[in-house]
């Protein structure tokens, strides 16, 4: 057993996947000697050599497209996009090519690739380094979107993503990279890519969050517990495909739903969660569905970052308003 933080868990999952399967490659900017700007790929070059840990030129469209070609040839590339602000450039390759190669060829060619990218705000990073683009990619048919929120889930989900026969976008919340440590064995099994995790059981309200917002949701649940309100906290973990049943089962018990997303409100993934419950769980709702989200404004530079990002206080306030409904 080793204690690992989230970025170390990512590193360990990469190392394990590469050790197990020679077709797994790591590609991206600065993933080699530098070990990645967040050290996610540290030590991999030394251990697996430069044919398996490949520093690329500075070209995100190229990286994504390269991965498609490698994957169609039977490799399992894990491509790092250095920050999510530079992920938008890959949308064309991901949507038009990676996510539909299987469909287009009726299974003749497939695309088992993973794109990893550090995601979200909260670390006072420069411009374009704090984006939360999960909703954009969750709209892409044929793509899985995964956002871990703990070292153990990062490890198990990344392992599963790499083994998955289809493309996966794996967004790692930068602010959680070094937030906590967990005991984590190298032979921990992978986690399923279609399941949400109930992190805390509760009876009065359901809180759905993912990524960097999960600790805030847990903190809000703590705060409400002090008022005698029992909140269930669900970490979606895999956004697409969505584990609707876990959410519906929870809302059926609690009758109240607050969804937390770091991304701007409009057309964010929280809307999808709300829409699913408003269709299949409406009759159990005893209060309006609340979303706590980033504002529909540009993610500000660090000095206003805290005014932008949802936090435990805003979540708790939403929960309290929700509880105020008969």
């Amino acid at each position: 057993m080793t204690e690992r933080n989230l970025v170390q868990a990512v590193n360990a999952a990469l190392a394990r996947a590469m050790a197990e399967d020679p077709s797994v490659l790591v590609i991206g900017e600065d993933v080699g000697a530098d070990g990645g700007v967040f050290r996610a790929t540290e030590g991999l070059l030394a251990r697996f050599g430069k044919d398996r840990v490949i520093d690329t030129p500075l070209a995100e469209v190229g990286i994504a497209g390269l991965a498609v070609g490698l994957a169609a040839q039977g490799f399992r590339p894990v491509a790092e996009i250095q920050f999510t602000g530079f992920l938008y450039a890959t949308l064309d390759q991901v949507l038009n090519h990676a996510a539909r190669l299987r469909t287009r060829t009726r299974g003749r060619l497939t695309c088992p690739l993973v794109i990893r990218s550090p995601s979200g705000g909260g670390v006072r990073a420069p411009e374009h380094h704090s984006e939360s683009p999960e909703a954009i990619f969750a709209h892409v048919p044929g793509l899985r979107v995964v956002v871990p929120s703990s070292p153990a889930r990062a490890f198990g989900l990344l392992l599963a993503a790499i083994r998955d026969p289809d493309p996966v976008l794996f967004l790692e919340p930068t602010r959680l990279y070094r937030a906590t440590r967990e005991e984590l064995d190298d032979d921990t099994p992978p986690l399923p890519l279609d399941r949400a995790f109930v992190l805390r059981e509760g009876t009065d309200a359901t809180l759905v969050a993912w990524g960097g917002m999960v600790p805030e949701a847990l903190a809000a649940a703590d705060a409400l517990a002090r008022d005698g309100v029992s909140c269930e906290v669900i970490d979606l973990a895999t956004l697409k495909p969505l584990d609707e049943e876990t959410i519906l089962a929870s809302v059926a018990r609690t009758g109240r739903l607050v969804i937390v997303q770091e991304a701007p409100l409009t057309a964010g993934y929280g809307a999808e969660v709300a829409a699913r419950v408003a269709e299949r769980g409406l009759m159990s709702l005893r209060a309006p569905i609340r979303r706590v989200a980033g504002w529909d404004t540009v993610m500000p530079l660090p000095r206003l970052e805290r005014d932008y990002l949802p936090n435990a206080m805003r979540i708790a306030a939403a929960l309290r308003e929700t509880m105020a409904f008969a």
């Binding site: 497209g65 070609g69 998955d164 026969p165 609707e244």
Partner: protein
């Protein structure tokens, strides 16, 4: 105080003049008339399929179709240079190359008729399907070539795109990757002088498209794209270099789009008939036919027999295409992922009528 630190030149290759008269010695493969006859047959087949496809579209039995009229030497020449184990990454005007590699006419029609099974062709199954987003397949070619390099296989990726595509950043990035890792890839530009209505001169200020290679530090060559011998020779040379660790090549094939851009286009809106007529004089089929005839290796009877054989093949393909039963709508779902996730299972049931 300027000093010259680097020099480059772009060469252009041609063996047969427009009239079919050789300009000098032909490359080895071209000394065997039977090989040339095969190339000729490949071009005639391509043209026959194109004609049929356009006719089917005009009568509402095929979707939008991009003919390769006048550019047959490019697609046949490059395909003839490839080995079966190489991977073709076409754009959307390379049916002639696909045919050469064993894709059937029926499969080509199926794809353009709006049926995904046309991309699940039975032959050459490692080849990529048609790529409609211009230039989008170029980075894939780098990836395929890198796969060969990593596995130490003497194979190469051959990627084809148009003059317009050379303006896309995707292509530029692919060339960078191919260059920096000396990948076994050959990029062939079908410079047919037009990107829909945009003429080559309005596409870029570069004197040649071959020189795009210089930006990536890879080998460059221009070739007369109406001379199938030159195309095949140039691509063979590039493939040999690729297979032996010599890196990637960009080949610009100079030709002309004698047809409309696609069946959805009317080129008379933006270009002169006179220009088109002029280019009919340069087109690839008579060129090779004249040369073969001058060798005594081709006769009017052979020509008629070939045309008849192509007609028969095309008609059989048409019949087989039209007789192909439609896909089950369930197939929309079945290939989205290797295994259908729960919410897609529900959607599939709804789509097929049994809403849950």
């Amino acid at each position: 105080m300027d000093t010259v630190v680097a020099r480059f030149e772009i060469r252009c290759r041609r063996f047969l003049g427009p009239d079919g008269v050789p300009l000098g010695d032909l490359p080895g493969f071209a000394r065997d008339p039977a090989v040339l006859v095969e190339l000729y047959r490949g071009m005639v087949r391509t043209r026959a399929l194109d004609q049929k496809a356009v006719a089917l579209q005009r009568t509402g039995r095929l979707g939008t179709y991009a003919s390769s009229l006048g550019q047959e030497a490019v697609v046949v020449g490059l395909a003839a240079a490839m080995r079966p184990e190489d991977v073709l990454l076409p754009s959307f005007r390379e049916q002639g190359a696909q045919l050469w590699r064993g894709v059937t006419m029926r499969e080509v029609l199926l794809y353009w008729g709006g049926d995904e099974r046309g991309s699940d062709f039975a032959a050459s199954r490692h080849d990529f399907p048609v790529c409609v987003p211009v230039g989008g397949q170029a980075p894939h070619a780098a990836g395929v070539a890198l796969a060969f390099r990593l596995r130490g296989e003497p194979r190469a990726a051959v990627c084809v795109f148009g003059d317009g595509a050379t303006s896309k950043g995707d292509v530029a990035e692919a060339l960078v990757f191919a260059g920096v890792w000396a990948l076994p890839a050959v990029f062939v530009v079908n410079n047919n002088q037009w990107a829909i209505s945009v003429p080559r001169s309005a596409q870029t200020a570069a004197e040649t498209l071959a020189q795009k290679a210089i930006a990536a530090g890879i080998a460059a060559l221009q070739v007369d794209g109406n001379d199938v011998v030159a195309v095949r020779d140039a691509v063979e040379e590039a493939l040999a270099r690729a297979r032996t660790g010599g890196g990637a090549t960009l080949i610009e094939a100079l030709t002309y789009r004698l047809s409309d851009h696609t069946t959805a286009d009317d080129a008379r809106r933006y270009r002169d008939d006179a220009e088109v007529s002029r280019h009919w004089r340069e087109e690839p089929l008579p060129r090779l036919r004249n040369y073969l005839t001058s060798l005594g290796a081709w006769s009017r009877e052979q020509e008629e027999a070939l045309l008849e054989a192509c007609r028969a093949e095309v008609e059989a393909a048409e019949a087989a295409y039209l007789a192909t039963p439609p896909q089950d709508p369930a197939t929309m779902f079945e290939h989205t992922f290797a295994a259908l996730p729960a919410d897609l299972v529900r959607q599939k049931a709804e789509a097929l009528g049994g809403r849950t």
